[in-house]
């Protein structure tokens, strides 16, 4: 619990610094410790405010140069929970600073999973899907809309993350985990995400056939017939086939090359085009 008569305290100024600095999450990425430099960078204002003793600062800098990787939108949240713990550590000589590292480890993996799928995944899909119609006609509002749809929620999450994390601390995580919230959010985003992808398959996958059946007056364009029975059937079937192949663990790179070769052959044969 935050007691207002603590000797060492973090103010809104430091939290704002953390907010801004955490935009740089993937700057200096590396295989070894991944986002560690960026994380330390975002904690420096907090460390300097809380610890006046050089040795304490050194320990803290080192602590936050340990391996770190999570979804960037959630970086402010993790950093602010870390801040709350560092504040506790600075004021309480009996606090075990190792628990700060283990808390980071506890949070970063799972939050990365959630963040990658909800934000990097679903939110981005929705933004792309909505923008795609405008982009396809060369309208500049397309890309602008894409950026807005992705970034407005993202910025809100960052902002809430940095202030909520600090106030609510780790009990917040346990509460969320025990409640239904995540299930509901995952379900809702899955519904929206899948509907968007389904719609994009109909709008943006281009597969059609130039085949005509019959001769002379009775000539019928196969594609017209297909369109009458089931519009966008070919795009759906194509996507379905690729999906099945993926499930059979065919690697993405093979599918890519395969599609290119398939395209060339089937176009040459006059089956598609």
């Amino acid at each position: 619990m935050m007691i207002s008569d603590k000797k060492y305290k973090v103010t809104r100024k430091e939290l704002r610094s953390v907010f801004w600095r955490s935009f740089t999450t993937s700057h200096s990425w590396n295989y070894e410790r991944q986002q560690h430099i960026a994380f330390c960078y975002s904690m420096i204002p907090v460390i300097n405010k809380l610890y006046k003793n050089k040795q304490d600062r050194i320990e803290a800098y080192k602590r936050h140069l340990e391996f770190y990787n999570s979804q960037t939108t959630l970086h402010p949240f993790i950093a602010s929970i870390t801040t709350a713990m560092e504040e506790e550590n600075a004021n309480n000589p009996n606090f075990d600073s190792k628990s700060i590292s283990s808390m980071k480890v506890a949070l970063m993996g799972p939050l990365a999973g959630i963040g990658d799928s909800l934000i990097g995944g679903t939110l981005r899909i929705i933004a792309t899907g909505i923008a795609s119609g405008l982009c396809a006609t060369g309208n500049i509002m397309g890309p602008i809309l894409f950026l807005l749809i992705y970034n407005i929620p993202s910025l809100i999450l960052r902002y809430l993350g940095v202030f909520k994390g600090y106030k609510l601390g780790t009990t917040f995580m346990t509460q969320i985990s025990n409640s239904d919230v995540m299930k509901k959010v995952t379900f809702a985003t899955a519904v929206i995400g899948l509907m968007v992808v389904g719609a994009m398959v109909a709008n943006l996958v281009v597969v059609s056939t130039p085949i005509t059946i019959g001769i002379g007056e009775g000539k019928v364009k196969l594609q017209d017939t297909l369109n009458d029975i089931f519009p966008m059937l070919l795009p759906l079937v194509t996507t379905g086939i690729i999906y099945k192949l993926l499930k059979k663990k065919i690697k993405v790179i093979y599918l890519l090359i395969g599609i290119i070769i398939f395209g060339i052959i089937f176009r040459a044969l006059g089956i598609l085009g």
Partner: protein
Amino acid sequence: MIKLFRVDHRLLHGQVAFSWCHTINANAILIASDDVVKDELRMATMKLAKPNGIKLVIKSINDSAEAINSGVTDKYNLLIVVESIKDAFELLEKTDKIQSLNLGGTKKNENTESLSKAIHVTKEEKKILSEILKKNVEVEIRQVPDDSKKIVDQSMLID
């Protein structure tokens, strides 16, 4: 049946939760770790990150071995994840139902050498891997399902 037995210092995260679960059609994940069972926060966050429709169980290494040996896990397509090579060895000592070990990610520090981009092992760990190989358990390195299996053999573990 046990579809994948993986060492990953980050336990349940993006790659593991989604790519691997999909590839092996997992419907249950077992986290075998003496440390995690004692840590409320870690368990809570992992429950948050688990994919929908997939059962998540967190047990100590002993309890995990018991569950596997008792056959209770046979009806699931099971993904087992441990935090370290040491934990993997401990589990392998207690059950012989596992034929293969996937090395997905281990941390790097000044005492480690790299077996691959994401696998860094200390001398201790090399010895442990060697013991694991002696049990006739396959040891392979793959970070994501799309990677090709890099088989670890004794020659890679000599100093």
